[in-house]
Symmetry: C2
Subunit: 127 residues, 2 copies
């Protein structure tokens, strides 16, 4: 789950550009695209979803704030969600990202399932 | 984000039943369904996605473990994601759920965006 700040407003408004970026990001992360769904909502934002085998990538954008909420969910241990996220952040021109990784379906001692949460920050455009 | 344990394996295998449950859960949460995408994967599991106006609900199931990973993402402050989750947990017969709420797009003092994380447990069938 990524909060991306300082992004290019022109890209965040452009549903077609975002669709291309998310499809390519799935390939970069070694995921197999099944279906896509994108739409613009008023006044500016775009919501987009790429459905991958057992997984999904979504983006919801606020161009007027240079902000995008990105989620990458994957069930596939062979995929590379970090590469997917890095690709998206680069292409939308994010200057800063707050990222939380949630490892799902961790079996507890009592047989119930929980998750493990890890958060960090990145400044992709400052490299 | 929900890890649901002790669920009914028969329901977790049944893509049609899960589709009905997720569509109804969107209505219960006052969300407006735009599109759905469900498929079974081998040997047992189901992946399902309901795309809502500015939001989405997804489920990925492991019937052999009685386990389901559920996500409800909403941009709409008028929707009721807690009701959506409670409805799904009841219908899939979950005995236990570990839930993490992530409030997205919180503006920090330096103008970047972050999120706030809150986790709790529920035992829906023990009430």
């Amino acid at each position: 789950m990524v909060e991306a700040s300082g992004c290019d407003p022109g890209i965040l408004k452009d549903a077609n550009a975002l669709k291309k970026i998310l499809i390519e990001s799935a390939k970069v992360g070694e995921m197999d695209v099944r279906s896509t769904y994108f739409y613009k909502f008023s006044p500016y934002g775009v919501s987009g979803m790429v459905i991958v085998s057992g997984s999904h990538i979504s983006i919801h954008t606020w161009p007027e704030k240079g902000y995008a909420a990105i989620d990458v969910y994957t069930c596939d241990v062979d995929s590379k969600p970090e590469k997917t996220i890095d690709y998206i952040l680069e292409k939308i021109g994010a200057s800063y990202a707050h990222i939380t990784e949630i490892e799902r379906g961790i079996e507890d001692e009592d047989g119930t399932y929980t998750h493990i949460i890890l958060s960090w920050d990145e400044a992709p455009q400052e490299d």
